[in-house]
Amino acid sequence: MGNMLEIKNLHVKLEEEDKQILKGVDLNVEAGKVHAIMGPNGSGKSTLSYVLSGRDGYEVTNGSATLLGEDILGMEPEERAAAGVFMAFQYPVEIPGVGNMTFMRTALNAQRKARGEDEISSADFLKLVRERAKELKIDAEMLKRPVNVGFSGGEKKRNEILQMAMLEPKMCILDETDSGLDVDAMKLVAQGVNALRSPDRGFLVITHYQRLLDHIEPDVVHIMSEGRIIKTGGPDLALEVERNGYENLKAEDA
């Protein structure tokens, strides 16, 4: 199977200061596979997700990232989204005054338009959103409210997964999706993600703890430290981290 996301020798620094955060990341996520990146705080995991989604404030000093062979680092965030990149935020943003439904329909139609597809009709959209929301136990009230406003931590994360389900991206990046979730909420979110697993979709799950990976079983696990991937292995690697912590792995690497 071909590579969905291909990251080569990626070097990234902060735009405002002379601080190198990613120091040569190499990573390939194949279609149909779930890759997990684990690592201690400050290892650069979240930066990787920001850079892939196009957030301001970072400067790529070397290397590349492609989606199905197409360079994404030169694209605007909305172009990346239309190309199929989706990042589930660690801290989903509250947007007072913008209805959740309006937001999702605007996003979906903007992506379709960018890809030269027809806009979805209101009726089809409603049907789709209700169906997908039900699977994630998101009620009609949550759909009507402004984006993420007044949502609990769990509701926010479920809303992220709902957006993912609606937008049907090719490459899903989950940034610390388990943070702030209790076990039940985590299970719901994981179910949502698992339902989206498919042979033509890739996943990159970024997490600090192994517990999320009990529910979203990865095919490949990477350990990131100080801006590099220092170890790659199977699902067992996550368990090893859980048992021995990151310090041992770092020592091993050294």
Binding site: S53, G54, R55, D56, E76, P77, E78, R80, A81, A82, F86, M87, F89, P92, V93, E94, I95, P96, G97, V98, T102, F103, M104, T106, A107, L108, A110, Q111, A114, P146, Q163, L167
Partner: protein, 429 residues
């Protein structure tokens, strides 16, 4: 006390170009009285505290600055689809051909000049009355000037529930028109009327609307000022509220090199409610000033001011809002918020929120903020595929929502939103 020379000169220069329109004895006497009052206070000067952020020079000038007509393309005017009674003014002159028949169940509508030609008319007790009451403690010279020299307008008396809104439409045809309109509205006990206003009106527009709402009466007002970029306007809305009455006014301001909207409200009966709201969007050479003065002189009344301005490319927004709670106006509930969203570093928002309270059992609050677009929200939306300009527009509309929600009628609110959408998409080019 004699006027400062600079004021006297400006005032006399202005007066030289104006003459009091003919009418019945009562109207002439009210107008002459206004003229005398104007000579006493003089036209505003930019050193006046009340005009420190809005230069009155171009409003003072005897001749208006010409204003080009704006081609809105195929866009329908606002309120076009609303079932309403149309009253059309072209460059400040009533146009009977373009207007509907001035009759409507629940209302009496008369052209101002007709009312003023009649020896006995109810408007006699109201024309210039609320305007004069509104001159203390702050003078509003353009309103006095208006009372003295208004050439047209309508007087409306609501005796029941009006079956549809009265829609005052101000067309602008001459690039040098200088219009002075004065409307008087009397809402009788338990009666209800909605008044709509739209259109650029003239190159320079001076308008006064006096609204007297009797006990349990209801007055709704929705206004859209816009279209012609170069137009200038100074308007006054005076309201007096009786017991358990309701007064709600919303104004959308788009375009216009100069707009000064003053709203002066007075609670005289207990348990009344007044909301004044404004949403404005300005791009480039745009100066929009909302000046509001609410006087609570009765118990348990609620007043609410909500003003939101979105500014870019050097546009300027001004808000001067005051809540005055007189002694004895207990249980007053006063709220005031003015906010601006500056889309770049060149734009400015100047705000002066004021409370003056002489009663000891009241709840009053005011707030004013100036902010930039929420970059986090912008990125979040873009990361979902929403292009930058659409994401920004959504945030702009979200910012204005609190003001637009003050429009009670959903159909009218939707119309205003559509207008904003049109403005935003034109700006996108």
């Amino acid at each position: 006390m004699a006027l400062p020379q600079v004021k006297e000169t400006a005032t006399e220069a202005k007066l030289a170009a104006l003459s009091i329109p003919e009418g019945a004895a009562w109207s002439t006497s009210i107008r002459e009285d206004a003229l005398a009052r104007l000579r006493k206070v003089g036209l505003p000067h930019r050193r006046d505290e009340y005009w420190k952020w809005t230069k009155p020079d171009s409003l003072n000038a005897p001749e208006p600055t010409p204003a080009a007509l704006f081609d809105a393309g195929g866009e329908n005017p606002v309120f076009d689809a609303i079932d309403r009674l149309k009253v059309v003014f072209v460059d400040g002159v009533f146009d009977p051909e373009a207007s509907d028949d001035l009759s409507l169940t629940g209302l009496e509508i008369t052209r101002l000049s007709d009312a003023m030609a009649t020896d006995i008319h109810w408007a006699k007790d109201l024309y210039g009355t609320l305007e004069a009451r509104g001159q203390d403690p702050v003078a509003r010279p353009f309103a006095i000037l208006n009372t003295a020299f208004a050439t047209d307008g309508v007087v409306i008396r609501a005796t029941g529930k009006a079956e549809k809104p009265v829609s005052l439409i101000y067309r602008h045809q001459s690039e040098t028109s200088d219009a002075i309109l004065h409307h008087v509205i009397k809402v009788e006990e338990g009666a209800e009327v909605t008044v709509l206003e739209n259109g650029p009106a003239a190159a320079r527009f001076n308008k006064v609307m006096e609204v007297d709402v009797a006990d349990t009466g209801t007055f709704h007002h929705v206004r859209a000022q816009g279209r012609d970029h170069e137009r200038q306007a100074v308007t006054h809305l005076f309201g007096r509220l009786g017991e358990r009455s309701t007064f709600k006014s919303f104004t959308l301001t788009v375009n216009g090199v100069l707009t000064r909207n003053e709203c002066v409200l007075e609670f005289t009966g207990d348990d009344a409610t007044a909301h004044v709201a404004g949403a404005s969007v300005g791009d480039g050479k745009f100066h929009d000033d909302d000046t509001v003065f609410v006087t609570h002189d009765a118990e348990r009344c609620e007043s609410r001011q909500v003003f939101k301005k979105v500014l870019r490319n050097g546009a300027i927004g001004v808000f001067q809002g005051k809540i005055l709670v007189k002694e004895g106006a207990q249980k007053t509930d006063g709220y005031q918020i003015s906010q601006s969203l500056l889309l770049d570093d060149d734009s400015q928002f100047l705000a002066k929120p004021e409370l003056e309270i002489y009663a000891d059992d009241v709840a009053c609050s005011h707030g004013s903020t100036t902010g930039a677009i929420d970059e986090e929200a912008l990125f979040y939306m873009r990361a979902r595929g929403v292009p930058h300009h659409i994401a920004q527009d959504l945030l702009v509309l979200a910012f204005l929502a609190e003001a637009i929600e003050e429009i009670e009628d959903q159909e009218l609110a939707d119309d205003i939103l559509e207008r904003l959408d049109g403005w935003l998409s034109r700006r996108r080019g």
